[in-house]
């Protein structure tokens, strides 16, 4: 069965075009299309500033990371940003190996990520 991943989407106070999205579970090839659909449709509705809370993201593979990079690119093209916070050690290693640490906005915690919006 597909890996379990759910998204918890919340408003960010005083930021009209921003959303906080918590990723809960494993992001891989089996669920990446659903995530792409969900977040793309948010961005198309005008929510172009996203803070992704990865504190409960246990696992990401190269396909999952590809989608994250895609979101980052699309958000910038739309004049927004896709920021990541609370990345665990294992997930960070994957991002680092793929060479994406300089391409993504990575923050220690969501407070800092939100403040940078």
């Amino acid at each position: 069965m597909p890996a379990q991943l759910s998204l918890k989407i919340e408003d960010i106070k005083e930021k009209n075009n921003a959303k906080m999205i918590s990723f809960i579970g494993d992001l891989d090839a089996t669920n990446v299309e659903d995530i792409l659909e969900n977040i793309s449709s948010l961005m198309n509705e005008g929510f172009v500033n996203i803070v992704a809370d990865f504190s409960k993201l246990r696992y990401v593979n190269s396909t999952g990371l590809g989608i994250i990079l895609h979101f980052s690119k699309v958000a910038k093209e739309k004049g927004g940003s896709f920021k990541i916070a609370n990345v665990n050690e294992n997930v960070y290693e994957i991002i680092d190996i793929i060479g994406a640490t300089t391409l993504l906005d990575i923050f220690e915690n969501v407070t800092e990520a939100v403040q940078s919006l």
Binding site: S62, I67, H70, E93, I97
Partner: protein, 278 residues
């Protein structure tokens, strides 16, 4: 007190292992006899021993002490002693004496044999899986293999890396191989104390051969900035593995990976790029 009998034989399935079946009570008067039997085996080079206690009701503290000494002498020679089928009373006695911290105890012969081979001969455990080319199977497969590796005492960081490697190579086999309903992908894992060897084989066709070859050729030039949502898997596997070998032919694709446990010295050193035969 029931008189002690000790039946000693080569294990029928694993003749390099000695099976000692104890029957009766192991009182203090049996210490010398036990010492002699172990000394004989040691002198013959029979250093992998399973002691079956299923027919033992009583064991004295001096005998437990003697068994500890015998075990130490076996270990000095690269062997070991594993006790199996201890009764509840004997297990409790071991706990009181702290002997449970010293001895390896198993419930059955098969587990004891596996432990002896793993610890003392570094014989790898083998896991073979075959599955249909369905991406939805991959999460369970990677979890299964990573749990085995975790149980085998690999550090958590390595467990995660191995989970990632399994995930990526299975995904690649599905995405770049034949996708017929009756086609199967085979995953073979050999796990020992120092490393894991993974081999994935699957059928392929001309189109997939070209595609995969291009993917591997282009991987070194790949730019993470490219908009492709996919294609980083091979780079990731290369960086996480100790070595990677890829053989592609019209008959099929074989990807072979070795991953050494972290901080173990790797005789070849560093990462190794793929070999492609078409």
């Amino acid at each position: 007190m029931e008189k002690l009998q000790i039946n000693i034989s080569n294990h029928r399935d694993s003749p390099d292992i000695t099976l000692m079946v104890f029957k009766g009570d192991l009182d203090a008067g049996m210490v010398k006899r036990i010492e002699r039997e172990f000394a004989k085996l040691n002198a013959l080079g029979r250093i992998l021993i399973i002691a079956d206690f299923s027919r033992v009701k009583f064991i004295s503290s001096p005998v437990v002490g003697e068994l500890m000494g015998c075990r130490e002498r076996l270990i000095e020679k690269g062997g070991n002693l594993i006790l199996i089928k201890l009764s509840k009373d004997i297990r409790q006695k071991f706990e009181l004496m702290g002997a449970n911290q010293v001895f390896d105890v198993s419930t059955d012969e098969k587990t004891a044999i596996s432990k002896l081979y793993w610890e003392n001969q570094n014989k790898p455990d083998e896991v073979n899986l075959s599955f249909t080319p369905n991406l939805n199977l991959v999460p369970n497969i990677r979890t299964f293999i990573s749990n085995i590796v975790l149980q085998k005492g690999y550090p958590h960081k390595d467990v995660f890396r191995i989970e990632t490697i399994v995930d990526e190579i299975c995904n690649n086999a599905i995405e770049h191989g034949e996708n017929g309903e009756n086609d199967e992908i085979k995953l073979k894992c050999l796990i020992d104390k120092f490393k894991i060897d993974l081999r994935v084989t699957n059928k392929t066709n001309d189109k997939n051969v070209t595609q995969l070859q291009q993917l591997i050729d282009n991987e070194d030039k790949s730019n993470p900035q490219q908009d492709s949502k996919r294609g980083r898997g091979i780079r990731l596997v290369k960086m996480l593995s100790s070595s990677l070998k890829v053989e592609i032919s019209r008959q099929g694709t074989m990807v072979q990976i070795t991953k050494y446990k972290e901080k173990e010295t790797h005789p070849e050193g560093g990462l190794n790029a793929g070999t492609i035969k078409s």
